[in-house]
């Protein structure tokens, strides 16, 4: 470091950062790793590859991915509206976006369950004898066909569409908690887009679709990817809201974090730590991806 900085204190701040990171992040993580190892590698391997656990990965990672992708579409639209247009209540709407960040996840889970349970506000609209639910009623040809499909079986309840206590419920909860990540990541990038570039595209004869796909979207893509991976990472680790709205049935609606708790109840500390370790690795990969997208974005925008 031959270069002189204008502000002094590099040594001090780096030292502080290292101590802080060690205390807050590295020490607990090493403890997790040691606990995993304490059960022996055979036990670790058996735990993380047992059929019930593998099924829970599919639920956790699969539904999280779908939820993150949906947020990738609708979060971008929300960000676009909030940046580009001026309308009454815009600031209020902007603040509402952050609610899923701030709300205790258990509250979110209970609220969503109360909305989507079969006898509650939204849930009862999808009963077979209601207009919305009648489309999938087994009395209609479509509903009858649906009932024969293996994948749809779990969603079709006795009296109507099952939203809470099925994978649909997990999907709704994960979409809810992931949404702000996409909006907040994409918003500043849209703010930075220069209107004159779009105008230039229009002047040069681009159609609206061309202007969007060739000019606007390439600029937004890295931010969208970052937002989606962040939302994905958040969803994979989500516990508080999902346990209320998922039915927690093994092989169907059981997410991996629930299995971790279940292992703890069984005093299988090393098994629980092993599953935690797998989740940790997954999160790390996801965050690495997110950082990669961010670096790409910075290069594109010429920031770095």
């Amino acid at each position: 470091m031959g270069k002189r900085f204008i502000l002094p204190g590099f040594g001090l701040t780096l030292g502080y950062t290292l101590v802080y990171l060690t205390l807050i992040v590295l020490v607990p993580l090493s403890a997790l790793f040691l606990k995993t190892e304490s059960g022996g590698w055979q036990h670790f391997w058996n735990t993380i590859t047992s059929p019930q656990v593998v099924a829970s990965y599919k639920v956790s990672f699969g539904i999280s991915l779908i939820a993150a992708l949906i947020n990738g579409v609708f979060g971008v639209i929300a960000a676009w509206v909030l940046v580009r247009y001026r309308f009454p209540g815009r600031r209020l709407l902007d603040a509402i976006v952050d609610l899923p960040f701030a709300l205790p996840t258990a509250v979110a889970g209970i609220a969503l369950t109360t909305l989507y349970a079969p006898n509650d506000w939204i849930g009862h609209l999808f009963a077979y004898n209601q207009p919305l639910g009648s489309f999938i009623s087994p009395q209609t040809p479509f509903g009858a066909w649906l009932a024969t499909q293996g994948w749809a079986k779990d969603f079709l309840g006795r009296e109507g569409l099952r939203i809470a206590f099925s994978q649909l419920g997990i999907f709704i909860a994960l979409t809810f908690i992931g949404m702000p990540f996409v909006v907040r990541t994409v918003q500043p990038v849209i703010q930075d887009l220069h209107l004159d570039v779009e105008e230039a595209a229009a002047c040069l004869g681009a159609t609206r679709l061309q202007a969007f796909t060739r000019v606007i979207l390439p600029g937004l893509l890295p931010a969208i990817f970052t937002g989606v991976t962040l939302a994905y990472g958040r969803a994979v680790g989500e516990y508080g809201s999902v346990i209320f709205i998922a039915g927690n049935l093994p092989f169907k609606t059981q997410i991996t974090p629930v299995l971790i708790v279940s292992k703890l109840e069984d005093y299988d500390y090393s098994g629980a730590a092993g599953l935690g370790f797998v989740m940790l690795l997954a999160s790390f990969v996801i965050l690495l991806l997110s950082n990669g997208f961010q670096a790409w974005d910075n290069r594109r925008r010429g920031v770095a």
């Binding site: 059929p51 019930q52 206590f165 927690n248 092989f251 069984d266």
Partner: protein
């Protein structure tokens, strides 16, 4: 990060607690899910009793949750002066895994250290539209059964074992048939909550299912809240549930609360304690209270965990440990 936060919270909590202790003795009762109402009443009654007896003010904190989770918190350091849990196995764990009290703790108080008993009954919707009378009715047609997950809930283990015991009886002790019945029963379960209270909410508030397998006291409590919505069906055979209580030796010796903690549990056996148990729909064990509340409970044949399952340790290992009969119920669906 969580563990650091925990540590910080624990330090803050302890210091607040120490300053508090100077003014007033506090004891912590770590209990299971559906005892909230019982102990909120009992704690007030005991505080009064202790004040009369010794002149000291006492404050009793109560913590409620799934029985297994509560036991684990105590092993991990939650300073419980007394534990009042759903099943003996969970207190056995405190002895075996935490070394917090002697292994023969259950002999220290009368009636297996269980000052009240309970059993498992069916809570059905008003009018009993599915006509549920006995265990085999639970697996008829599209009947939906609500029970928590036996892996995480003490009450659910009693549910599971009661169903198993009935199937054993009906099939002349054929274990394979019993396993078949319980497996079929869990195919009728649409939601698997982690604790008894969660299942009650699913059944009563969310309107899911035709029948809730519940603690007797929990069922009566739900009925008291909404007498027009539910009915209780007591099956002809069920299991005698003995939720035990114990002083946690390591904690009380460290905190100097042995005397009050011991009295706290003994008072449960007194006429006042027994009356409160009966009032909160637990079955009292002392004769006077038993007679007073006899009409409140339906007659049913109750089997015991020791006779039918050879005790909790064996039942736990056979049915609820990893790879036990409960794990065998759920198979990959293949789609």
């Amino acid at each position: 990060m969580k563990s650091i936060l925990f540590a910080a919270a624990a330090v803050l909590g302890t210091s607040a607690f120490l300053t508090n202790a100077a003014a007033q003795t506090t004891i912590l009762n770590v209990s299971y899910d559906p005892t909230r109402e019982l102990y909120s009443e009992y704690n007030a009654a005991f505080a009064k009793h202790w004040k009369e007896k010794t002149g000291q003010d006492i404050k009793i904190d109560a913590s409620h949750g799934g029985s297994g989770k509560q036991a684990r918190s105590v092993i991990d350091g939650l300073p419980a002066d007394v534990v009042t849990l759903a099943l003996a196995y969970d207190i056995d764990s405190l002895a075996a895994k935490g070394n917090l009290l002697p292994a023969d703790w259950q002999k220290r108080l009368p009636h297996n250290s269980s000052p009240y008993t309970s059993t498992i009954v069916f809570l059905v919707r008003k009018g009993n539209p599915k006509g549920i009378k006995d265990w085999p009715d639970l697996i008829k047609g599209d009947t939906q059964v609500i029970t928590p997950n036996p892996k995480t809930s003490g009450g659910a283990r009693w549910n599971y074992l009661a169903a198993w015991a009935d199937a054993l009886k009906k099939n002349n002790g054929d274990e394979a048939k019993a396993q078949e019945f319980v497996a079929e029963l869990f195919k009728h379960v649409p939601v698997l909550d982690s604790g008894a209270r969660g299942s009650t909410v699913t059944f009563t508030e969310r309107g899911i299912g035709d029948v809730l397998l519940a603690w007797e006291n929990e069922a009566y409590l739900a009925l008291k809240e909404k007498p027009d919505a539910f009915e209780i069906v007591t099956p002809p055979l069920s299991i005698l549930a003995e939720p035990p209580v114990a002083v946690v030796d390591k904690v009380v010796d460290k905190r100097g609360t042995r005397e009050v903690a011991t009295e706290y549990l003994k008072y449960l056996y007194s006429p006042e304690g027994q009356d409160l148990a009966g009032k909160n729909f637990y079955r009292p064990i002392e004769d006077a209270a038993k007679a007073k509340y006899a009409r409140q409970f339906a007659e049913t044949k109750l089997v015991t965990i020791d006779d039918t399952f050879g005790g909790w340790k064996k039942a736990q290992a056979t049915h609820f440990a990893d790879g036990g009969t409960f794990d065998q119920i759920y198979k990959p669906t293949g789609n």
